[in-house]
């Protein structure tokens, strides 16, 4: 039967292929663009990212992988000094509060234009604030950071920290807030609150977010962001997992040294390392601490960030009433050999914590003595409290690493061994990070008696640490609601946060820190751990940021 049919089939196939070929024209920009070799192309910095970005409008973004990219394209009114958490001028050159700290006058740079050529001025600033404030139902849930720092949106204006913005001059804007707080204006360093081009926001229907079918759909703007930063958006090649940013030649400040940054999504850590070894990427984030020495030996440089985080052992008296006794909580603390934990389980540069914030945050109390490792004292306190042989359901998360805990299971094992050594019966519990752990910890009431968790600061603010932990009485992971001092602590925190004078505010937070550690002990601060990033040979100009807010405009990629 078949010879004729076979011939026909093949003819059809060849014709089809030819037709296809004729409609598929090359869309390359020009010849000679195909380096083929990847990293090491002159002027291109290729960075291995652990995950894909969510979208490119930082206002709705929630994760570090997105912010790392948008940070190169956007700027805020306030910036962060590279290598520290210190607030410095960025798009605003000066800012001044009125007497009661409710109106802030920002003097703006007069030489800035957005990537689309639109001028940056006071009107643009107010447009941005109003855009962030006035969100639809979906936007109000999705815009996590605004909700987090401002508390509410236009529909609930009375409860919002932000009250309004007025352009009082071409380059002078006044932002009104409900009451003074330590977070303002420091929060304007947040990537989510960056300034974006009003024209582009308008044209791309930037606020047109919608909740649809178990997720949010984003407007066109989210794929074509326009900021003022040293890099402009190039393209997102989804099929290859590559995001390309191009140098902004009209940048108001010093021009970026690399002409291009490429972010390559490489979820697997060992693959990122192999890519660096093969020279096809120039750097990546969060190398496994175990690899640090080996990476250095191979000629790479491991850039260690100053720790801006806290790992703690959370205690939940709502789940285990025995924990309501201060002696029991102190006993648990004395039982932990944190010095050894830091040395054996955490990377170089990690430190034992004496309170719930790192020492770079204003409000840190230097006079607090760390709880000593003292198993005998722990046993004595347990006996005094009548809690010898108590059972503690103690949990850790799986399928996750965080900057403050590179290997949760190992940290947990060390802590568990210490607890068992003083006679506490540990009931082991675990769940995957996205698979119930966070739900169990932060549910009301939380499910576990004790757990490990931590926090990386968003900006230099004591309230961003201890306010997050204990400031919300009804809804916090430490069950302070069940403690007689819980309300007092929450009130004190809010009061301290509202002090306008910086020095006075710092002193108030120092006092609260001492109280937390000496009188309340709602949880046990364990350690601060430095996350790192690594760059290959020949890469210069990376300044590691405690806030993981590295800016790549100063990076150069030399030959090997």
């Amino acid at each position: 039967m078949s010879r004729r049919r076979t011939v026909a089939t093949w003819t059809t196939a060849v014709l089809a292929a030819a037709t296809l070929a004729s409609c598929a024209d090359s869309q390359r920009d020009g010849e000679g663009d195909s380096g083929g070799g990847s990293g090491g192309d002159e002027g291109t910095f290729v960075f291995g990212a652990a995950g894909a970005p969510e979208m490119f409008d930082p206002y709705y973004a929630t994760d570090g992988e997105t912010f790392r990219i948008t940070r190169q394209m956007f700027e805020g009114l306030l910036g962060i000094e590279p290598g520290s958490a210190e607030v410095v001028p960025e798009l605003a050159t000066e800012w001044e509060p009125n007497e009661d700290g409710t109106e802030w006058t920002f003097t703006l740079r007069d030489d800035v234009t957005f990537h689309d050529g639109e001028p940056f001025n006071a009107e643009a600033v107010c447009y941005n604030f109003e855009r962030m404030f006035d969100q639809n139902e979906a936007g109000r849930v999705a815009a996590e950071y605004w909700g987090y720092v401002m508390g509410a949106y236009a529909d609930d204006a009375d409860n919002s920290l932000y009250q309004g913005c007025e352009a009082t001059g071409e380059f002078e804007a006044v932002v009104s807030i409900k009451g003074p707080t330590s977070g303002f204006p420091t929060m304007l360093t947040l990537e989510s609150l960056s300034m974006q081009s009003p024209k582009a926001l308008e044209e791309g229907d930037a606020n047109g977010i919608a909740a649809e079918g178990e997720g949010f759909t984003f407007p066109a703007y989210a794929d074509s962001p326009v900021g003022t930063g040293p890099f402009t958006f190039g393209e997102y090649d989804e099929a290859n997992g590559e995001i390309t940013l191009e140098r902004n030649d009209d940048y108001w400040g010093e021009q970026a040294l690399s002409s291009e940054i490429v972010f390559r999504v490489i979820p697997d850590e060992s693959t990122r390392r192999q890519e660096l070894e093969a020279g096809s990427i120039n750097g990546y984030d969060l190398p496994n601490p175990v690899d640090w020495a080996g990476l250095e030996e191979e000629g790479n440089s491991v850039e260690v960030r100053d720790p801006f985080n806290i790992l703690y052992l959370g205690l939940n008296p709502e789940a285990n009433p025995q924990l309501k006794d201060l002696k029991v909580r102190q006993a648990i603390y004395h039982a932990l050999n944190r010095e050894q934990l830091v040395q054996s389980q955490l990377p170089e540069g990690a430190a034992v914590a004496t309170q719930f914030m790192p020492d770079t945050v204003s409000g840190y109390n230097t006079s607090i003595e760390p709880y000593a490792y003292d198993p005998d004292e722990a046993k004595r306190l347990l006996a005094e409290a009548g809690a010898e042989g108590m059972t503690l359901e103690f949990a850790y998360p799986t399928e996750v690493t965080r900057p403050y805990m590179p290997d949760p299971e190992k940290i947990y094992e060390a802590l568990r061994t210490d607890l068992e050594a003083v006679g506490i019966k540990v009931k082991v519990a675990s769940a995957s990070w996205n698979g119930g752990y966070l739900d169990n910890v932060s549910g009301e009431p939380g499910k576990y008696d004790a757990y490990i968790l931590g926090w990386t600061g968003d900006y230099d603010s004591a309230y961003n640490f201890i306010g997050t932990f204990f400031g919300n009485l009804k809804d916090n992971d430490f069950g302070t609601d069940a403690m007689p001092w819980g309300k007092q602590l929450a009130d004190d925190l809010k009061e301290a946060d509202a002090i306008v004078d910086e020095a006075e505010r710092g002193a108030a937070f120092e006092k609260i820190n001492a109280q937390i550690m000496e009188e309340y002990l709602p949880g046990l601060p364990i350690s601060h751990s430095p996350p790192a990033l690594v760059v290959g040979p020949g890469v210069e100009g990376v300044t590691p940021s405690p806030l993981t807010a590295e800016e790549f405009d100063t990076v150069t990629v030399g030959g090997e």
Binding site: D29, Y148, F216
Partner: protein, 336 residues
């Protein structure tokens, strides 16, 4: 034949419907969910509830399922929360499919072109050095986990000798035109030969890693099957009739020995799709498998549902094709 195909397609629809229901319930009964994945440490009861309401996850399961079906009938399979936030889950699937098709096709080609001839040769020379060596290799192929094979391949070919790329689908800065999403083909279609070659180089290691298990299985089945057939009376009869060795090999031995092999290949496609999850993850190869791994880790319900259902459809379709091929190979089945 047509009725057979139609019946199978109808069965497939029922299978997919039942699977969608099971999957829907199963995913949502797992602890955690997209809300934890989105909120992370910032999670509080208040924020979690607000997000659950916005995403419709606070409603009873049957209601959620009916809404899902209602949308699905209208061609909307839900919105991705993490893999490609904001995108329709079906679009995510279609955009990832070409990569996986390219990868599995090459892996299958490698497995078949090595497995069948080697199996045949091994069977013809049972007990020889060739046979023993091949058998040992196939055992190793089945026994060693894909991620380990992948790691070794990457270490030697990409890091030590630097002859092939470590991961990804195409080199940075290549600026290749994308037409079908299958990059090797795209390079041919647009006559960007360097892009095609580059994509092929990126394909080799993952395809070899992915091919190890199907190769071993195909090899062993071919070998066993040829051994069986060689022992059949009709082969002896053919020899007695004085047919040439070539005719006996082609018309009697191979054709008959191929029946179980074809079935195996069909089943292996399912295995390839599963293997693609691991292989694509360790090679940062952005196909369906990589998306599946990400969506599971981040509890991206919509994407997870679509990918699993679509994979099931592909599996059923491939096996339908295998059954048809079977009928072509074996006239006895056609007449039934």
């Amino acid at each position: 034949m047509l009725r057979f195909v139609l019946r199978r397609l109808l069965q497939m629809i029922l299978v997919v419907l039942a699977l969608s229901m099971l999957l829907f319930g199963w995913l949502r009964s797992l602890p955690g969910g997209p809300v934890s994945a989105i909120l992370g440490e910032r999670q509080t009861t208040e924020r979690r509830e607000a997000l659950e309401i916005a995403l419709g996850l606070d409603q009873p399961l049957p209601v959620q399922y009916l809404k899902f079906m209602d949308r699905a009938v209208h061609g909307n399979f839900g919105t991705s929360t993490k893999v490609l936030p904001g995108e329709d889950a079906l679009v995510v699937f279609w955009s990832r499919l070409p990569a996986t098709v390219e990868l599995t096709l090459l892996a299958l080609v490698i497995a078949i072109t090595l497995g069948i001839p080697l199996g045949y040769i091994a069977a013809r020379r049972v007990g020889s050095l060739t046979d023993t060596t091949a058998v040992i290799f196939s055992l190793v192929g089945v026994a060693v986990p894909v991620f380990f094979t992948a790691f070794l391949l990457k270490y030697f070919f990409a890091v030590e000798w630097q002859v092939l790329p470590v991961s990804g689908r195409q080199s940075t800065g290549l600026d290749a035109t994308q037409v079908t999403g299958m990059f090797v083909l795209d390079g041919v279609l647009t006559r960007e030969w360097d892009a095609s070659w580059d994509a092929l180089k990126h394909l080799i290691l993952p395809a070899v890693a992915l091919a190890t298990i199907p190769f071993s299985v195909i090899f062993r089945i071919t070998r066993a099957s040829v051994l069986d057939v060689l022992d059949e009376d009709y082969v002896r009869t053919a020899e007695a009739k004085g047919l040439t060795a070539r005719v006996i090999r082609g018309r009697h031995v191979l054709r008959n020995a191929m029946l179980p092999v074809v079935t195996t290949i069909g089943l292996q496609v399912g295995g390839l799709l599963a293997g693609a999850i691991l292989t694509e993850t360790v090679f940062s190869y952005r196909g369906v498998g990589d998306a599946l791994a990400t969506s599971f880790r981040e509890k991206d319900y919509a994407v997870l549902q679509v990918l699993i259902l679509a994979t099931a459809v592909i599996f059923v379709l491939v096996n339908l094709v295998v059954d048809i091929a079977y009928a072509v190979l074996d006239p006895r089945i056609r007449t039934r």
